[in-house]
């Protein structure tokens, strides 16, 4: 392992992700219920270690991951579910795809960790077909004032690991030009499963 990899929090986290993956025991019914709504050409953003491959519905899915260490682990999970997954290394803030190519984009505990949320949402809008669906399984800042402060405090140190616990992701998605179709509570209003539609017109590149 190089010095650069050691300094990369995601490379380090990829080695310990197995310990956190038991969260999936609790979350999988909500994830599977949300991802079942994917249809057509689908893009999974930030596949991580590939834990979510097993929850994807049958069909072709392009999965991207930025970090090489995560990517290596995800590669071992291809074929775990019914979806035919193609794994690529790419950055969500600069998607290497043409405009309006995907029918569905899926994010799973992703938008909390992308440095520039607005840029990533802009790229998702660009690559989604007009009327295409964005399916988000995300943790967000609670609307409750006390829980909101708790998440702000937790972000003080979670930020060092590359994660913001207090993002207003649904509001940001709405502001980015998506029509929010529904939001479901998975855990309080901290973990949510949401579906949004790209309200973008064909003319926008």
């Amino acid at each position: 392992m190089t010095l650069r990899q050691q300094a990369d929090p995601w490379a380090l986290r990829s080695r310990f992700y197995g310990l956190c993956e038991s969260s999936d025991l609790r979350r999988w019914p909500s994830k599977a219920g949300l991802f079942r709504r994917a249809c057509g050409q689908t893009l999974l953003i930030a596949a991580g270690t590939g834990l979510d491959f097993r929850h994807l519905p049958p069909g072709d899915v392009i999965a991207i991951e930025f970090n090489p260490a995560m990517l290596a682990r995800a590669r071992q999970r291809i074929g775990e579910g019914p979806a035919r997954v193609t794994l690529l290394q790419a950055d969500a803030q600069s998607l290497p795809f043409s405009t309006h190519v995907f029918d569905t984009v899926i994010t799973s505990c992703t938008l909390c960790s992308i440095p520039n949320l607005g840029e990533a949402l802009g790229e998702i809008r660009r690559t989604l077909k007009p009327g295409g669906r964005l399916l988000m399984f995300e943790h967000v800042r609670s609307r409750h004032p006390v829980l909101g402060i708790v998440l702000d405090l937790m972000t003080l140190w979670s930020r060092f690991g590359g994660t913001a616990m207090n993002r207003k992701t649904v509001a940001a998605t709405h502001a980015a030009g998506f029509q929010i179709l529904r939001v479901d509570s998975v855990f309080l209003d901290v973990i949510i499963a949401a579906e949004a539609k790209n309200a973008l017109s064909q003319s926008v590149a």
Binding site: L19, C20, S22, S23, L25, R26, R27, P29, S30, G33, L34, R36, R37, H139, R143, H144, V146, L147, V150, L151, L153, M154, M165, V170, A171, H174, I180, R182, V183, D184, S185, F187, L188, D189, V190, I191, I192, A193
Partner: protein, 142 residues
């Protein structure tokens, strides 16, 4: 109109083992945080210093416990409520020491912190129910 499968997702509640586990984890976090504060109070006489050091000790203790509990109950699902309780429960010890002029016993702290943990667990469960109701109505964006 939402499909039946989506409707069932919307109204989904956590399976009971997780709800029971959440309650036990929250009560345990509360007790550990309060006992950490008590341990510091029994060693340091300066009230302000004891409160700051005790709060740090409570956070460290709770974080260590929740890192283990998270393996069974989920990471965020465990850590967010535990962070909340670890800010409130140690204050019990400080408040009694400040107002009463004497430290509580270990048994008193354990009983009070466990009760507080149970009360917060019930309050969070009620808030979760309220969130599900609001989201089902489409009232997610206040």
């Amino acid at each position: 109109m939402a499909s039946p499968s989506h409707q069932s997702l919307r109204e989904a509640r956590q399976p009971w083992p997780f709800r029971v586990g959440d309650g036990i984890a929250l009560m345990t976090s509360s007790v550990l945080a309060a006992l950490a504060m008590l341990a510091v109070h029994l060693r340091i006489d300066n009230m302000a210093l004891a409160s700051i050091a005790g709060m740090a000790a409570a956070m460290v203790t709770t974080t260590a416990f929740t890192s283990l509990a998270a393996m069974a109950l989920g990471s965020i699902e465990t850590k967010v409520p535990a962070m909340l309780i670890s800010m409130i429960s140690p204050m019990l010890v400080c408040a009694v020491a400040a107002l009463g002029g004497a430290d509580m016993s270990v048994a008193q702290v354990t009983a009070a912190a466990a009760s507080l943990g149970a009360a917060i667990a019930v309050a969070l469960a009620a808030y979760g129910h309220k969130c599900r109701r609001e989201f089902a109505r489409g009232d997610w964006y206040r």
